[in-house]
């Protein structure tokens, strides 16, 4: 009844005042739906989102019900997103870069449903974008890698050449070269977010070629396990993966989406939800670093110091002078990269020993 009244009121207001701000529609319950690109038990990216979903359930109790669909292929995700929108979800969180255009397409067809897309850059009146500055963590990883590596080369297992992954590679290298200017990174693209076999192959190949630190931007724990079997150090991805490599993991970038999801659902319940474009870093807690383990104390101290400096804003990862891969100037001394450039980053910085796939 209350809902109907509000709707009538809203309709009336909209008629009389076409330019009025959206009417705040409070609601008692909400249904939040989540779309995962991988399995919710992948030990990485999708599991991190699912853990956040469970935090939401715990926080709101009966007020918020959640639904999820896992293993959704990016190419065919539009149907899944549309089905969720149709089935009564108040808000749909789509949690992979490749869901961006499908989410936007569905958002245009369902103006009454709210959408939130992770790690992209497109928004609409009823579609937010939210992201985490993972590259801040990658910079710290680069510093650690350069501090402990004996061969001066790290291996980087990459998924797809999208801006987020390119940012990560660049930040890792900048971090490493802040310690050892000669440090190099070997990049292998597996063209998949999740294929334990291919990720393990990539790790083996990189170790065969002499890298002694492995980092990854793919979602399984297979590279960590391979590194462990050869006594080489590695970084965890998306979750604390210390269980997969108790003597291997140096640290991990932990995604903690829970507080963000809770904040957004509060906004849905209050009727204060608005389309936003959020890109938070270490300082906000949307990403945290796992304990610095399996490294000398001075390296751990350095990493912690860098983390604090980034949080305090004293250290900005993409600040000049930085050259592009071909040696031309990108950022002059004192310049700081703007978010727009970073979100569309499709070039390497100087020193990356790889050709970026077009």
């Amino acid at each position: 009844m209350k809902k109907t009244l509000l709707a009538l009121l809203a309709a009336g207001t909209a008629l009389s005042l076409p330019t009025a701000t959206p009417v705040l529609a409070q609601q008692d319950t909400a249904e939040a739906c989540f779309v995962y690109v991988g399995s919710r038990t992948d030990g990485g990216w999708s599991q991190a989102h699912d853990m956040a979903r469970m935090e939401v359930e715990e926080h709101f109790g009966d007020a918020v019900t959640t639904t999820f669909v896992e293993n959704v292929a990016e190419a065919t995700s539009e149907g899944t997103i549309e089905r969720l929108a149709r089935s009564g979800c108040d808000i749909v969180f789509t949690t992979s870069f490749g869901f961006m255009d499908p989410t936007l397409a569905v958002a245009e067809r369902f103006p009454d449903v709210k959408f939130e897309h992770a790690t992209g850059y497109k928004t609409a009146d009823n579609m937010s974008a939210y992201n985490s500055r993972f590259y801040e963590g990658r910079f710290i990883q680069g510093q650690i890698a350069a501090s402990i590596s004996e061969t001066g080369t790290a291996g980087y297992i990459a998924s797809f050449p999208i801006p987020e992954v390119v940012q990560g590679i660049n930040a890792f290298l900048l971090g490493a070269q802040s310690i050892d200017p000669e440090f190099s990174v070997r990049v292998v693209w597996v063209n998949s977010w999740y294929d334990p076999g291919a990720e393990a192959d990539a790790a083996r190949v990189l170790m065969d070629q002499g890298v002694d630190v492995i980092t990854q931007h793919t979602d399984s724990t297979a590279p960590m396990q391979e590194a462990a079997s050869r006594g080489i150090k590695a970084f965890g991805q998306a979750l604390d993966q210390i269980e997969a490599g108790p003597e291997t993991q140096l640290t991990a970038i932990i995604d903690s989406w829970g507080p963000y999801y809770i904040r957004r659902l509060e906004a849905v319940l209050d009727g204060t939800w608005e389309s936003e474009n959020i890109w938070d870093g270490l300082e906000s807690g949307i990403l945290t670093m796992a304990p610095y383990t399996n490294m000398p104390d001075d390296v751990a101290a350095l990493a912690a110091e860098t983390e604090e400096a980034i949080k305090a804003g004293d250290l900005v990862v993409f600040s000049g002078p930085i050259n592009r891969q071909d040696g031309t100037e990108w950022l002059a001394e004192g310049d700081v990269a703007d978010d727009e450039t970073l979100l569309g980053m499709n070039f390497y910085v100087e020193g990356v020993d790889d050709q970026l796939p077009e």
């Binding site: 399995s39 992948d42 693209w189 076999g197």
Partner: protein
């Protein structure tokens, strides 16, 4: 030298599951049955193998369980497509879907646990020979089984009477039936053999390739095995060539990337598929031979008239 050895070892590991599953499927198809459920049987073998090894601490029990899980799935396929004479294509696809779902369900509590690797062979003397020793005499059991399997299948299909009978069943089940051959019995045995091989291939994935259980960890390898059988025109030795070629190119392209060779990575990722198809098509150019080797009754249901 050390790098070359490391590269070869990685190639062997990558090729073995394909070789195991494709050899099994080859026997199935030679009997006239097309089982598109290789991926499903493989993933069940992976979860079964992992669970048994993890719970018992014995990797050999894991291998056995992989075989049994694969055979269990094959039995289901056999009951539907042979006894009930359902459409083999649809039944095989359903088997893949069931296998992927069921394996995820069974394996869920065990995701992320570290698996148990079977020991590598170690023959004092032989395994110590530089280069050749570690490559040939220091591998995991799956490697030796896969090679023995190919040899065994060649011998069985082309040098034994039951092998000849099996091929006859695959070429013309009506004539075979008229000669008094138990068509369905042969097909059941072939399907079960195929399941055992696919299950073993799955166990290789969860015990050797990446010793862990993770959902959908077969990642399409069952489909590659199926394609290998066709492109090898149902010849076991060509399956062997195809599997190793696929493994070699897929590992080789990773090395090319890590060395920074400037070829787009998407093209490199597609290379194993393209190269394998091209090579197998070239070596199968003799169309008469290919026709002789193609099981003429492939995919057709058989209902005995009593």
């Amino acid at each position: 030298m050390e790098l070359a050895l490391a590269v070869l070892v990685t190639i062997v590991t990558a090729a073995t599951p394909l070789l195991l599953a494709a050899t099994g499927e080859l026997v199935v198809e030679r009997s006239g049955v097309l089982n598109l459920g290789v991926e499903g049987m493989m993933v069940m073998g992976a979860v079964g193998g992992f669970l048994a090894a993890y719970l018992s601490g014995n990797p050999f029990l894991g291998m056995l369980a992989g075989v049994l899980f694969g055979m269990g799935m094959a039995l289901l396929f056999g009951f539907l497509s042979l006894t009930l004479a359902t459409n083999q294509y649809a039944t095989g696809l359903a088997l893949t879907i069931i296998g992927l779902g069921l394996a995820s369900l069974i394996g869920e509590p065990f995701v992320g646990r570290a698996g148990i690797r079977p020991p590598h062979l170690d023959i004092p003397g032989l395994s110590d020979i530089p280069f050749v020793g570690p490559l040939l005499f220091g591998r995991d059991p799956f490697f030796y089984i896969s090679l023995a399997l190919v040899a065994g299948v060649v011998w069985f299909l082309f040098y034994t009477k039951p092998g000849l009978t099996l091929r006859a069943v695959g070429d013309n089940h009506q004539s075979a039936h008229a000669l008094g051959i138990k068509v369905l019995r042969y097909r059941y045995l072939a399907v079960l053999f195929g399941g055992a091989c696919a299950g073993l291939a799955g166990a290789q994935l969860s015990l050797v390739y990446t010793p862990q259980w993770s959902e959908n960890m077969t990642a399409g390898r069952g489909w590659i095995a199926l394609a290998l059988v066709v492109f090898a025109s149902w010849r076991p030795m060509r399956v062997l060539v195809g599997a190793y070629l696929f493994g070699a190119v897929s590992i080789g392209q990773l090395h090319a990337q890590a060395l920074g060779i400037p070829i787009p990575s998407q093209a490199l990722t597609a290379l194993p598929y393209a190269a394998t198809i091209v090579v197998l098509v070239i070596i199968s150019q003799n169309r008469r031979l290919t026709m002789i080797n193609t099981p003429a009754s492939l995919g057709k249901s058989f209902v005995p008239d009593r």
